[in-house]
Amino acid sequence: MKFGIFYEHSVEKPWSRESELRAYHQALEQIELADELGFDQVWEVEHHFLEEYSHSSAPEVFLAAAAARTKRIHIGQGIAVALPQMNHPARIAERAAALDLISNGRLEFGTGRAATWTEVGAFGIDPDHTKEMWDEVIRAIPRMWTEEEFEWNGKYFKMPPRNVLPKPIQDPHPPMWVAVSSPETAVQAAERGIGMLGVTLGTPADYRRLVADYRRIIKHCDPVGKFVNNQVNAASWLYCGEDENEARAVGGAAAFNFFRTAAHLVGLGGIYPSHAYTALANATALLSQAEIFSLREGFPVGTPEQIVENLRYWEEVGVERVVCLINFDQQIPQKKVLASLERFAKYVMPEFAEDKASRPTGPSKSGPEAPPMPT
């Protein structure tokens, strides 16, 4: 199993001139350490206008800085919004290829279509067509990366013959992913031969059906890229504490605040009835988690021993990568975030090293009792 971290760049009010500056630079320091410690991936979202929740509207810029400061960690666009009215497909391909060059071939290319009215409504995009738009764009981009005369005459964008430059260094191109928050999208990822990038902070049980469907269907896929990426990435929350109480108080509180902020976003499904958003939108889906007021089963928050136990559930479900939020709104002091990463690398990662990969996994399906949230 491989481990990663991901960033929303949340910035809590009241804001000062330094609030966003601090969020970005603390994140870069964390990524540098994660690279040294052996974390496998760093991902950054693309969101627009989601005040406090995510100030991450230019992920390629941030990830370029991360790439320049690191040597091994994979650099993940999690995701690039593949809607022509928001990002022209050629610009997506260009920026991703540049990032692949800067990172010496460490790019993981995630795609998606946005899930909040705040974003889709701002760009005048018809929510009913975002799935079709995404589908068209992800078929075009691998060709832009690999063809010298790319030409496109699609439903949602058209281009005369052009050589889209630069080309990525990975041959034939970086691994492709799609953000998955519904069973339907898991199936669509599998059908297209691209990786399943779980973006809902769910439990292993939540992912079980998605992963099973994905694994079954991808065997017979028609890949949109030049190769099949059949990996599954789940999203969760990480805080490796000094002890159980500290982990609950610090990591659990920050996780709860993340859910609480997410609960106040307006998911598309909430106020715009659309066949294109049959599942609960990302933020809305979090509501069911927010009401629990406790850390969810499988959340790697706790002592190293508890985290190992929780991560075994993910292994059992068939997830081979878990990427985690490690702070929210800078509520956890930077020193503690870095210490959490160090403890995780020292005590948890070795338990999942490849030479231990064949060890039997036998946790009960119910999982450990979730520790209560601090009030």
Binding site: E12, D126, V266, I271, P273
Partner: protein
């Protein structure tokens, strides 16, 4: 976030009539009802000014305007309209009724005493067909706003669902009580409109209808079905 409302409960208190008017007991089943429903974005400040502190605004701030036409009911034909603020109550989706109007004395009485809305008498024009719909909501000072759904597209009724409505009802002892009314229309036919518009009429003054002006229509629906006009209940 969360960003709580800053209105006071007192702002929503009403002068109740000394004697409760006579009206048929709730619930009232109203077959063949039609509802125009529009979600639209509004500015943050006027929404927070109208939202009680136990509720928090969403991002982006939005309102729900629902206008009902009931050709049949236990009190005869009547219409009502509500302007609800999209919000969260304990992190869960909610819609707080900031203003409401009806053209029926009996619906007004039942609304005031048992639901918290509708709580003002006014005039509502309503017209709908398979292809379009239009309504004009008016208060004591004349027409307030006009809603037009010029081009309707039929959709599966199962695609639509509506939240409960929350209000501050004035109790007999002159206090306010948070009251929740369940989603109340059984959808038989539904259509959406992608080019709905809201036009504001006349001088607005400070009524919520006009201070919470539409900045951007999100979505609009026309729904036909059986509405049950029922009493609200306390949360929980």
């Amino acid at each position: 976030m969360p960003d709580p409302g800053r209105s006071r409960h007192e702002d929503y208190l009403l002068d109740l009539p000394k004697e409760r008017p006579v009206y048929p007991p709730l619930p009232w089943v109203c077959p063949n009802s039609t509802m125009i429903n529009v979600y639209f974005e509004v500015l943050k400040a006027p929404l927070l000014d109208r939202l009680p502190p136990e509720f928090c605004r969403t991002s982006p701030p939005y309102c729900r305007l629902s206008i009902f036409d009931h050709p049949q009911s236990p009190v005869g034909p009547f219409r009502d309209a509500i302007l609800a603020l999209g919000c969260r109550l304990n992190m869960m989706p909610a819609a707080f009724v900031a203003a409401s109007i009806t053209n029926s004395e009996k619906a007004l009485a039942a609304g005031i005493f048992e639901r918290g809305f509708p709580n003002t008498l006014g005039k509502i024009e309503f017209a709908s067909s398979v292809g379009s719909a239009r309504a004009v909501v008016g208060g004591a000072t004349g027409p307030l706003l006009e809603v037009e759904l010029p081009l309707l597209q039929t959709i599966e009724p199962s695609r639509l669902a509506f939240d409960h409505a929350d209000s501050l009802r004035t109790t007999a002892d002159g206090k306010s009580a948070l009251t929740i009314t369940r989603p109340d229309i059984k959808i038989e036919r539904a259509a959406i409109c992608k080019n709905a518009r809201i036009e504001y009429l006349g001088e607005g003054g400070e009524t919520p209808w006009q201070s919470l002006r539409c900045r951007n229509v999100v979505s609009a629906q026309l729904v036909h079905g059986e509405r049950t006009f029922e009493a609200g209940h306390a949360p929980g």
